[in-house]
Symmetry: C2
Subunit: 150 residues, 2 copies
């Protein structure tokens, strides 16, 4: 049986347990021996979407993601390439989205429907509320602790 | 040939590229097929040493370190066990220290000398100055960006 390709994407600024959990779930969604390819968003893309540059440079964000055991390949986002072109290029069997990626989920589902593709969309669950599972939470804690210490 | 055991330790709060670089260098220091064991400092230990609790809980810091490809085992620090007892328990061939762990280096070298042990101490190099290679740098950038946005 051909290895299923799972595709996931994200900025992965300030790598945390929530990211790992998402990528492990994504890999499992492809079944035994799946290949997990992660597209790491470019600095420019993050800036355009969120209005500010990430804390960590794109090459270092990519290297850290590729160093994670569930990840087979981590590649930097394609400049001037939309979701549709990426899907055509990488031909994933599964596209995994995080609980906070509903915009990506919608965009991908539209493409799948429009083109009649056989791609499963898998949505990872959110961790429990007291977990450090988002970069925003980490940033808030850094700022809180800084205030308490000054 | 027996697999060489390399031991490394750290808090690894806010995982970054510098950590990965350190662990990859540590693993290489043990030669081909080395086994890298990483001791992740307990929340209590970090608090006692640095005067503040880490941002990320010990179990999540440990899980992230163990998810890195160069790492074979990541274990939480032993409470009430000093370096000497840890060395006796894990019997490393190499102890790897980061460029910012001169206190650990000194303590370990003293034990090795005192007990006449055959353990190599390997010191990892610092990344170049413009790299995000320390948790303090990440925290400073978080706070800077926050100020610019408010």
């Amino acid at each position: 049986m051909r290895r299923k390709i799972v595709l996931a994407t994200g900025a992965f600024d300030l790598l945390h347990y929530g990211h790992l959990n998402f990528l492990e779930e994504a890999k499992r969604a492809g079944g035994r021996n799946a290949r997990l390819i992660v597209i790491v968003a470019r600095d420019k893309t993050v800036e355009a979407r969120k209005g500010k540059r990430p804390i960590v440079r794109e090459d270092q964000r990519r290297a850290l993601i590729e160093a994670l055991k569930p990840v087979d390949d981590a590649i930097l986002g394609f400049e001037d390439m939309n979701y549709s072109a990426v899907i055509e290029k990488l031909k994933p069997d599964v596209i995994a989205v995080g609980y906070d990626q509903s915009d990506i989920k919608r965009a991908v589902q539209e493409i799948i429907k429009k083109k009649g593709l056989k791609i499963k969309v898998f949505e990872a669950k959110k961790l429990s509320a007291d977990d450090i599972d988002s970069s925003s939470k980490i940033k808030r804690r850094v700022i809180e602790l800084e205030r308490n210490n000054s």
